[in-house]
Amino acid sequence: MAPLEAPVEKWTGKIRELKLGSGGRKTITVGGGTTLPFVKFEGAQPHRPAIAIEVQDKEPTDWSEFLVSAWGDALKNPGAWAKKAAEFGADLLYIRLASAHPEASNTGAAQAKKSASEVLSAVDLPVIFVGPDVAEKDNEVLVAVSDVAKGQRVGLGNCVEKNYKTIAATCMADGHVAIAKTPIEINLAKQLNILLSDVGLSPDSILMDPTTGALGYGLEYTYSVMERLRLAALMGDGMTSMPMICTAGEESWRQKESKATLDVPQAWGDNQERSLIWENVTAISLLAAGADILVLRHPKTVVTVKAALDKSF
């Protein structure tokens, strides 16, 4: 029979390429796709999605026992944790400056600089730093980190509507990438990209965080917003074409399906197996929706998702 004609769409846009890491640090580039994720018959995805591992600057008090046993004492020290994350196969690190949260230790610029330096000297991987997600506090610690990491092109976040000006300015001054986070909504995502561009930040220095809903906790909203952002970008909208980052690990491990170990319904099955699959399924589904960077927590999930990516490319 006659060969099938591949049903290609004529996309006019493409996903922007975004580079993290510079100044002696390893670099990684994500994005650049000219088609939908993993659709090979019509275009290219020149850079495979990257796996970031989450590291915190203080020992987490509320993490599942399965995470705690996987990381052991490394959780007590951001440098050691970062090193171990590198050994576990992270392409880059996602450092949460959790100690700065007013409800935690309410640390400030000095501690942020110290933690950042520890991580930066412990590993040569590209790094993203995020604050405690309290806008004023984020400004304080991220500006401090920006200075320490000057010229190393790290990611700084989360940049939200309330504090985007400060973070954009510090990114421009020190050559960093802003993580623009918006609540699961396509127009808000686009609007924040426009605001950031309007103050002079290059669109090629923006990474979008569309806000992740975990499996069973709003995943479908994130999934569809990401698909719509991808489609808008491929149709030529340059303000939705930034690569996307998803905090699949953090969101999955917050849910009771991953945390509960007592009084668990029998139908939920083995606690550890289910928790791991919960993170894994969240991650894989968001990859299919267009994630360019996945932030994960459990080393085993990193292995599974990397194996999937190895086969995909």
Binding site: M1, P3, L4, P7, L36, P37, F38, V39, K40, F41, D62, P102, E103, D133, I184, G213, A214, L215, G216, Y217, G218, L219, E220, Y221, Y223, S224, E227, R228, L231, R254, Q255, K256, E257, K259, D263, Q266, A267, W268, G269, D270, N271, E273, R274, L276, I277, N280, V281, I284, S285, A288, K300, T301, V303, T304, V305, A307, A308, L309, K311, S312
Partner: protein, 450 residues
Amino acid sequence: MALTGIEIYKYLPKTNCKKCNFPTCLAFAMKVAARVVDITACPDLSAQSKAALESAGRPPIRLVKFGGDTHKVEVGNETVMFRHEKTFYHPPAIMVRIKDTASKEDIAKLVDEVGGYQVERVGMKLTMDGFAVENASKDQARFLEAVETVLAKSGLAVALMSDNPATMDAAVAKAAARKPVVYAATKENWSGMADIAKKHSCPLVVRDSSGLENLVALSEKVAQAGIEDIILDPGVDSFKSSIDSLTEIRRLALKKNFRPLGFPVMTFPGVQAKTTEEEAALAAEQISKYSSVVVLEHFSPALAYPLLTLRLNIYTDPQKPIQMAAGIYEVGAPKPDSPLCITTNFSLTYFSVAGEIEASGVPSWLLICDTEGLSVLTAWAAGKFDAERIAKAVKQFNVADKISHKSIVLPGKVAVLRGELEEELSGWKVLVGPMEAMDVGGYFKKTWKP
């Protein structure tokens, strides 16, 4: 694709004879398009027009049904590439492979486990769909025995897997009441398999993993042999080509109305997996992207629950978000002196609030008010989340009987309701909680006092 009234009109006799009880052929056509009346109400429609209408009106991806009275499965008939464009209609069947090389006891045990599996989520009971019983032994008697065990122990759907038409015929005869899926017609055996599927009116899987062209050729052959209910197995058992092939199939079906690929797709995500996690991963991808029958190699509740949840998420109608049933929910294991919060019944609102409460480690009571699926601010603006409704919920669900204090936490975004609510709920203290769910934990620790 559903035809428009004008398209239907073209096929009608155009005599306006009124025998259909409509004044004109055009009026009739419009009603047919709106599915108010069936095309057969026009007695003068030629057989030729009828056939043409039927074929033009056929959905681009056929709806395929299998399973018996105890568990019916319908897959296919999808109309869009992306769920946000409309919705995905028919969730994939999730089945478990059973090999007839396993012992009778092991088969019985697995069937009991899968068949009895049920997990509850947002008020829905999620279950597995059935079994793919494989003639791995190549021995007919053994296969029939395995099929009998499965049929006897569970009412779920079955797919029968054998390359041997004689064996298949005998097995399908046994399972006929269950309308089993016949797996599979290949380049070598398609003619015999098509005869069996036709004889028992069962769906037939066509399998060719050597490229879509060959799959198309096979699909055309069995269609010509008179099989209407086809399921496609392109052999995508790895991440390498799954999304790529399944996207190509669905696009050709939907965008090019390409009939040979206008059928649901069946996949086996665990064939190459080295671990259950790997199997879960590919299954998750295939549930997200375009598989209609997913056959697992393993079963465990810890694998089934996330996959059934993903299926529920992806196949939720984006226009009709899942609503939580109004009522009083326990987050953690609250005691009478635990905090009481209220929010709306939009599922995402519920999940973020419940998730944050969960994460805070402070067990609480969460009262869900029926706001017709709207989020806090939208519901407030639409008058569906006001003092009156909240007070009604407090009374309706006997909240006062569960707690030892009389204070309720309002979402910060509707702080304006405080005064009014205190009037509606005399003797209660109304507290104003944080603006965002994510600050609930901090609020509990620092501010909350009953």
